[in-house]
Symmetry: C2
Subunit: 247 residues, 2 copies
């Protein structure tokens, strides 16, 4: 069978062609020495096409963040009372990982490029900040009326982003080898254990000091904590600390 | 007594005069419409003096971050094994608050300016990132060899920065009224309760299910947790979750 009778290879849309051309040039001659004119020449399109898709040269390096941010915001907006909020923002953060994992080669190339170009580092920080704010805004809504609601929201959002990025960067540094999903799940589980499952059921902790050593508070004295199954972690921690006089 | 016989008012050093002139112009005509030439003209010095102190116009907006970053790094480098690491990074973060609280009027003006000028927002994000990395690097050293050491370091650093900034921003939004120190202490206490005091002493949790209800895991069944006094929070949480089959 001649190749001419085969179905033609799907032509990548113009946007993808621009990203591909841009990265070929960035890798060949460096980000700073590549102009938008160079990119459109290689992609075989006009300047106006470039700016229809990307506001600036920086944006072509991160072509999918706007879509991912929009998807994440929609996902959080579609949440209900039945969703445990910390778990929900962890699930939202996984959407960013999926975007990176869709195309490991491209993600690893971009990671290396971003490390070398200060302007791209700054751009990336602003993107990370927008993800963090999206998570924090959602959590502020869910924690509204709770003591320290905005504090908890901001801290949990920052912790989720830091955990996600810790696992993502390890994966990128290892050239996209291994299972990024498992690493991110593990990292997010760490945050969920620290902050997850809020509510206020009863919990009671008692600090048992051997009488003779009461004044010294020796490390081998004991705390007995009795709690209902559905007690949230933070209440257990609070009671535990209070029993030790640390709260 | 004539004013000429009084001791002359201490003349602010040239650097302070440049910051003062810059902010007067930023507030009068806007950040974008103020040039370095305008600033040096008002301060009565040459362009070269400006660039001796500040690499760019952006840097004059944040004149003390470099010093504060250097102080923080030195403070962390001078830490010993006797310093509980999470408490230590909280103390390091308080150095940033002190810088802001030294001059509330200036800090509030800058906060408003930064909110309006995207370039300054980006600059501020990069500064915050450098503080966070300084804290994380210290914690990575302290948590080295522990399971999830770098993950814990990154998450705690991000949580500390988020808590600090939550309290700092509230204070700045209230025009510098109230006690910023108390608010920041409260916010950092929240993070310390979630992550503080690491070590690995024994802890044991038992999940008591009423036999008849074992299959249902009713919320009123009970967990009894017995731990030594010096058990870190995270171990208590881990055992507590494991007892419930959640870990």
């Amino acid at each position: 069978m001649s190749s001419s009778s085969a179905a033609p290879a799907a032509k990548p849309p113009m946007r993808d062609a621009l990203v591909e051309a841009a990265f070929r040039l960035f890798l060949e001659r460096g980000y700073e020495h590549t102009t938008v004119d160079d990119i459109v020449a290689l992609a075989g399109v006009g300047r106006r096409s470039f700016f229809r898709y990307f506001p600036s040269k920086e944006d072509v390096v991160f072509p999918d963040h706007e879509r991912c941010l929009a998807d994440m915001t929609a996902f959080l907006a579609a949440s209900g009372e039945e969703h445990e909020p910390v778990r929900r923002v962890c699930d939202a953060a996984r959407m960013v990982l999926l975007m990176y994992a869709e195309n490991p080669t491209f993600s690893v190339q971009r990671y290396r490029l971003t490390k070398r170009v200060p302007g791209l580092r700054a751009y990336e920080l602003s993107v990370v900040w927008r993800y963090e704010r999206a998570l924090a805004e959602y959590l502020r809504g869910r924690f509204a009326g709770r003591p320290d609601g905005t504090l908890r929201a901001d801290v949990v959002a920052a912790a989720v982003v830091a955990a996600h990025n810790n696992a993502l960067r390890s994966w990128l540094r290892s050239d996209g080898e291994g299972d990024a999903g498992t690493a991110v799940d593990h990292a997010l589980g760490f945050v969920q254990r620290a902050f997850g499952r809020p509510a206020q059921p009863p919990v009671r902790a008692v600090h048992l000091l051997p009488p003779a050593d009461a004044a010294e508070g020796r490390p081998d004295d004991v705390v007995v904590l009795v709690s209902r199954r559905d007690t949230p972690v933070w209440r257990v921690v609070q009671e535990w600390e209070a029993a030790l006089g640390r709260a």
